[in-house]
C-alpha cells in the first residue's frame, strides 16, 4: 500500500516535470539545462543543500501544521496569521528579555509556539462558544495578524526601530540567535526534532489515535468515547503552535528582527504542501524538502539559464494539480480493486 503511494507520488512528479519540460520547449529553452541547473543549485554541494534544508524549515513546519489539522478534523487555514504571531512573539520577547543563550533560545521557541497557538486558539474558542466555522475564522484572522503586525512596525509605530528607513523592528538580543553547526543552521535540528515528535504523537499515542479517527469519522470517535470537542481544541492549539514556531525560527535564524513581509508565502506554501501530501506527516516533510529545493534552485537558475524564476511557480502549480488529480484517479482505481475483491467469494469463510 505504501509502496503504491510512493510510486504514485513519484509518477506524479515525473509527469509534472515532463509538462514543465514541454513549457520550456515551447519557450525555446532546453529543459535538460534548466533542470540540471535546478539540481546543481539546490543540492549540488553541501553548502547549497544546507541552504535548501534551512529554507525547508518554515515550509515543513507550516506544512505539518496544516497536515496535522486536516488529518484530525479541524480546517485550520490560519497558518499565515499564526506564523506572523509566532514571529512577533519572538521579536517582543527577544528585544525585552536578555538571558544566556541556553535559556534564551528555548524561551523564544516557547514564545513563538505560544504566539501561534494563541491565534489558532482564538478561532477554536469562537467555534466552541458561538459555533463559528474555524475555516472562516482562521482565514479572517490572517488579515488581522497581517495588518496588526504591519501597524506595529510601521515607521513611528510602537515596535518600529528608531531611525529605520523601512518598516522593521529592532533586532533581538544576540543570545537568541540561531547559529550554524558546520554549514547547517540550528533551526534544522529544531525542525527535525519537532517533526519526529509530532509524528510520534500522531501515530503512536492514544490522543493521536483519537485525532486520526476523528479526522476520518468524528461521529464514530465520539460514540467510541473519545472527547472529540476537547481533542479539537488541542489539535487547533498544536497546529497553531507549529505555524508560530515556523515564524519564530525564521526570525531567529534569519533577519533577527520582524520586517515587513517576513516569510511572505511560506505559510500558504505549507498549506499547499499539506494538500499535495494528502495530510500525511511523512509525505509533508518530503514534499517540503522538494519544494524548498525548487525554490532555492530557482534564483540561481534564473542567472544561469535566463529562464525567469517564475517558471518554478508554474512548475509548483503543475505538481499540485497533477498530484491531486492523480490521487483522485488512484483512489477510484483502489475503490474498484476493493469492489472487485468484495464481489469475490472469501476463501476462508466458515
Amino acid at each position: 500500500m505504501n509502496g503504491q503511494k510512493l510510486l504514485a507520488a513519484l509518477a506524479g512528479i515525473a509527469l509534472a516535470l515532463s509538462i514543465g519540460a514541454l513549457v520550456l520547449l515551447i519557450e525555446g529553452r532546453s529543459p535538460l539545462d534548466v533542470y540540471a541547473a535546478l539540481v546543481a543549485l539546490s543540492i549540488g554541494d553541501v553548502d547549497k543543500a544546507a541552504i535548501t534544508i534551512k529554507n525547508a524549515v518554515p515550509l515543513i513546519l507550516t506544512g505539518l501544521s496544516a497536515s496535522l489539522a486536516f488529518a484530525s478534523g479541524p480546517i485550520n487555514l490560519g497558518q499565515p496569521g499564526q506564523f506572523l504571531m509566532g514571529a512577533l512573539a519572538v521579536t517582543l520577547v527577544g528585544i525585552t528579555v536578555d538571558l544566556p543563550a541556553p535559556l534564551m533560545i528555548p524561551l523564544l521557541m516557547i514564545a513563538a509556539a505560544a504566539g501561534g497557538a494563541l491565534w489558532a486558539g482564538a478561532a477554536a474558542v469562537l467555534r466552541h462558544v458561538f459555533n463559528m466555522s474555524e475555516f472562516i475564522v482562521t482565514l479572517m484572522l490572517n488579515s488581522i495578524a497581517d495588518l496588526f503586525t504591519a501597524w506595529l512596525i510601521t515607521i513611528g509605530g510602537p515596535l518600529a526601530e528608531a531611525g529605520a528607513l523601512s518598516p522593521r523592528s529592532p533586532a533581538i538580543t544576540s543570545s537568541g540567535r540561531l547559529g550554524e553547526i558546520g554549514v547547517f543552521n540550528l533551526s534544522i535540528l529544531v525542525m527535525a526534532l519537532v517533526a519526529v515528535a509530532i509524528w510520534y504523537v500522531f501515530h503512536r499515542t492514544r490522543p493521536g489515535y483519537e485525532w486520526r479517527i476523528a479526522g476520518q469519522n468524528a461521529l464514530f470517535a465520539r460514540l467510541g468515547g473519545c472527547p472529540v470537542d476537547r481533542n479539537f481544541f488541542i489539535v487547533m492549539l498544536l497546529s497553531g503552535a507549529l505555524a508560530g514556531l515556523a515564524g519564530g525560527l525564521l526570525v531567529m535564524s534569519g533577519p533577527y528582527r520582524f520586517i515587513r513581509g517576513i516569510g511572505a508565502n511560506y505559510a500558504w506554501d505549507g498549506v499547499m504542501i499539506a494538500v499535495v501530501a494528502n495530510s500525511a506527516l511523512g509525505a509533508t516533510v518530503l514534499y517540503g524538502l522538494f519544494f524548498a529545493a525548487l525554490q532555492t534552485g530557482a534564483l540561481g537558475m534564473e542567472l544561469l539559464t535566463a529562464v525567469p524564476s517564475e517558471f518554478i511557480q508554474v512548475l509548483q502549480a503543475v505538481i499540485v494539480l497533477v498530484s491531486v488529480a492523480s490521487r483522485g484517479y488512484l483512489s477510484v482505481l483502489l475503490d474498484r480493486l476493493t469492489l472487485r475483491r468484495l464481489s469475490r467469494p472469501s476463501p476462508n469463510r466458515t
Partner: protein
C-alpha cells in the same frame, strides 16, 4: 399519446424468447473463482430470484449477463443465438437492463427528463422534442400502472420513487429483461408490497425479472423460480412453490442452520437498565419520545418492535448519549447516567449501531484501528499506559478477535473497507462484546447480513444472554425478535404501547400494535 415508439433508435427493441447462461466461469486475478461453470436459463415472463450468501457469485453472475464483466468461459444465449456483450449498452440494445443498487439520477431534472436522458426523441431540427418525450414517459407510467408524476423533480422524490424512475428508464428503452440487485434493501417495509405489485404487473406484460435478495421471505413470496448459488457454483434451480425457507437456507449455507435461541426459563437477574419517564424533543421541537419507561434485567433480552420512525432511533441516541432526554432518567447498573458523558456511559454500555459506516466504524482506517475503539480507553490492556498506544498490541488484540469471531481478514493493518459486510459486522460485534459491559444495546444487528452471518450474530447474542448480560435488541425483523427475546416492547409514535412476555403474544398481535398503537399498556411482567 406517443404509444408508437418510432422515436427510439432502431437498434433498441429485440425481444429474446429466453436467455440461457451456459457454463459461465469467471475468475478474478490472481486465482479467485467467482463463478464456476454456472448454467441457468431464464424464461420469458418469469420472476426469477438468485439467492446465495455474500460472495456466492450472485452479483458477478448478473454483471456477466449485463455486460459489465466478460466471462472467461461459457456462453450467453439469446433464444438460440450466442451473444457477447461488451458493455451495458450492448446489453440494453439486446433488451437486458439493470436497476442499480446505488441509484444514479440527476436530482435537478424531472422524472421524464431523467427517463429520456441518453435516448431523447428529437425534432427535425435536432432539438429535444419535449411533447413526445414527456408523452412517451407518461405512456409507460400508464401502461404499467406506476403511481408517479412525470413532472416531479427527482431530488424531491423518496428513495422508493427514485427506484421507480430507474425502472421506467429501462421500460422506456424497451428492455425485456430487468435485473434488480437487492431492490428492497433501500425500501421501508411499507413500500415493499407496492414494488412487488409493480413487478408482478411487469411480469404480466411479458417482461422477465431477475432479482437478487437476501430476504428469503420476499424471494418465496415474489418469484416463480429460484436459483441458489454457493461459492460460485449453482446448487439448484427450484420452483418457489415447491420449496421452503429452511430448504433454501440449507442450500445456501450447505448445512443445517443450527440456531435455536429458545431455552428453558431461567431465574432472571437484577435490573440492569432502568429507563423512567423519558421525554425527548428533536431540534425542530417535534416530540419524539413520550414517557418511555423500560427495564432490562441481567440475562434477559428485551426486544423493541415498531415501524421505523416511531422513536427507536431517538431512544438509542438518548441511551448512548448523542442526545439528552428532556425529562426522565436513565439508570444502568445502578448508575444514574441521565446526564453522563458518552465515555461515562460506555463504561456500562456495549453498543452495536445500526449504520455501520457512519456510527460504528471508520471505513478508511485499518481493521485494528476499528477494533480497539473504546478499548483504547476502557480495556486494561490499553488503558494501563497513559500516553502510548502500542499498535503491535492492537494488532495482537485484532488477531485474537479474528480467531474468536472467525473474521475473514488477511492482516490487522488491512483497510476496514476491504472486509465484506458480514466480516465488518463481526469486527464491530466482537469489539463491543469484548468490552464485557453489563448492558448490550443492539440496533438492527443483522441488517444487511447474509444468512450465515445472521445466524452467527444471533448465536452470539444468545450466548451473551446466557453469560448474564442485559440486552436491548431493536429490530425491524419480527421473526428475529420472536426467536431471540424474552419480552417485546412495541413503540408507536414515540411511546411504548405494549410491553409483554414474548411467549404470551404472537406476530399478528405485535404487528397490529406496531401499526395502530394500543390504548392501554399492559402491566410489565416482573
Amino acid at each position: 399519446m406517443g404509444n408508437n415508439p418510432t422515436h427510439l433508435p432502431s437498434f433498441l427493441p429485440r425481444v429474446p424468447e429466453f436467455i440461457t447462461l451456459h457454463q459461465i466461469t469467471k475468475t478474478f486475478p490472481p486465482n479467485v473463482v467467482a463463478l464456476d461453470g454456472v448454467s441457468v436459463s431464464f424464461e420469458a415472463g418469469e420472476i426469477h430470484a438468485v439467492v446465495g450468501e455474500n460472495g456466492a457469485g450472485k452479483s458477478t453472475l448478473m454483471k456477466v449477463l449485463y455486460g459489465l464483466y466478460r466471462p472467461d468461459r461459457g456462453q450467453i444465449l439469446l433464444g438460440n443465438q450466442s451473444v457477447r456483450f461488451h458493455s451495458a449498452n450492448d446489453a440494453i440494445a439486446a433488451g437486458v437492463g439493470m436497476v442499480h443498487q446505488e441509484i444514479l439520477l440527476i436530482p435537478e431534472y424531472t422524472v421524464w427528463q431523467n427517463v429520456v436522458l441518453g435516448a431523447e426523441p428529437r425534432t427535425r431540427w435536432g432539438t429535444l422534442d419535449v411533447a413526445r418525450a414527456r408523452g412517451a414517459v407518461q405512456a409507460k407510467i400508464d401502461a404499467f400502472g406506476f403511481n408517479i408524476d412525470p413532472d416531479a423533480p427527482v431530488g424531491e422524490l423518496s428513495v422508493a420513487a427514485r427506484q421507480k424512475v430507474e425502472i421506467l428508464k429501462l421500460l422506456y428503452r424497451d428492455v425485456s429483461v430487468l435485473i434488480l440487485d437487492e431492490p428492497t434493501a433501500v425500501l421501508t417495509p411499507l413500500e415493499v408490497p407496492q414494488l412487488f405489485a409493480e413487478l408482478r404487473r411487469l411480469r404480466a406484460a411479458g417482461k422477465t425479472i431477475l432479482f437478487i435478495s437476501h430476504h428469503l421471505d420476499e424471494v418465496l413470496e415474489l418469484s416463480d423460480r429460484i436459483t441458489v448459488l454457493r461459492r460460485g457454483k449453482k446448487v439448484d434451480t427450484v420452483p418457489a412453490a415447491s420449496t421452503s425457507k429452511s430448504e433454501l437456507a440449507r442450500m445456501m449455507v450447505g448445512r443445517e442452520l443450527m440456531f435455536t435461541a429458545r431455552r428453558a426459563a431461567q431465574p432472571k437477574g437484577e435490573i440492569i437498565l432502568r429507563v423512567e419517564g423519558v421525554y425527548y424533543r428533536d431540534k425542530q421541537g417535534v416530540s419524539r419520545l413520550r414517557d418511555v419507561s423500560l427495564t432490562v434485567r441481567a440475562g434477559e433480552i428485551v426486544g423493541i418492535a415498531g415501524v421505523e420512525g416511531n422513536g427507536q432511533y431517538e431512544l438509542v441516541n438518548v441511551l448512548v448519549g448523542l442526545e439528552h432526554a428532556e425529562a426522565g432518567s436513565i439508570f444502568i447498573n445502578g448508575h444514574d447516567l441521565t446526564h453522563a458523558s458518552i465515555l461515562e456511559r460506555r463504561r456500562h454500555i456495549a453498543f452495536v449501531a445500526q449504520d455501520r459506516s457512519k456510527l460504528a466504524a471508520s471505513v478508511s482506517a485499518s481493521v485494528a484501528e476499528n477494533a480497539i475503539m473504546t478499548h483504547h480507553r476502557l480495556n486494561e490492556m490499553f488503558a494501563r499506559r497513559r500516553w502510548r498506544l502500542d499498535m503491535r498490541q492492537a494488532g495482537a488484540f485484532t488477531e485474537q478477535m479474528r480467531k474468536q469471531f472467525t473474521v475473514a481478514m488477511s492482516r490487522p493493518d488491512q483497510p476496514f473497507r476491504a472486509l465484506s459486510g458480514g466480516n465488518q459486522q463481526k469486527v464491530i460485534l466482537g469489539r463491543e462484546l469484548l468490552l464485557e459491559r453489563p448492558f448490550l444495546l443492539l440496533d438492527q444487528p443483522t441488517r444487511g447480513l447474509d444468512v450465515g452471518s445472521t445466524e452467527y450474530v444471533r448465536e452470539q447474542i444468545a450466548q451473551q444472554r446466557d453469560a448474564g448480560r442485559a440486552i436491548l435488541l431493536i429490530s425491524s425483523d419480527l421473526e428475529e425478535l420472536f426467536s431471540l427475546t424474552d419480552r417485546i416492547a412495541v413503540m408507536y409514535r414515540g411511546a411504548i404501547v405494549a410491553d409483554v412476555p414474548t411467549a404470551q403474544t404472537d406476530l399478528e398481535q405485535v404487528g397490529a400494535w406496531m401499526l395502530q398503537g394500543r390504548n392501554q399498556r399492559t402491566a410489565q411482567s416482573a
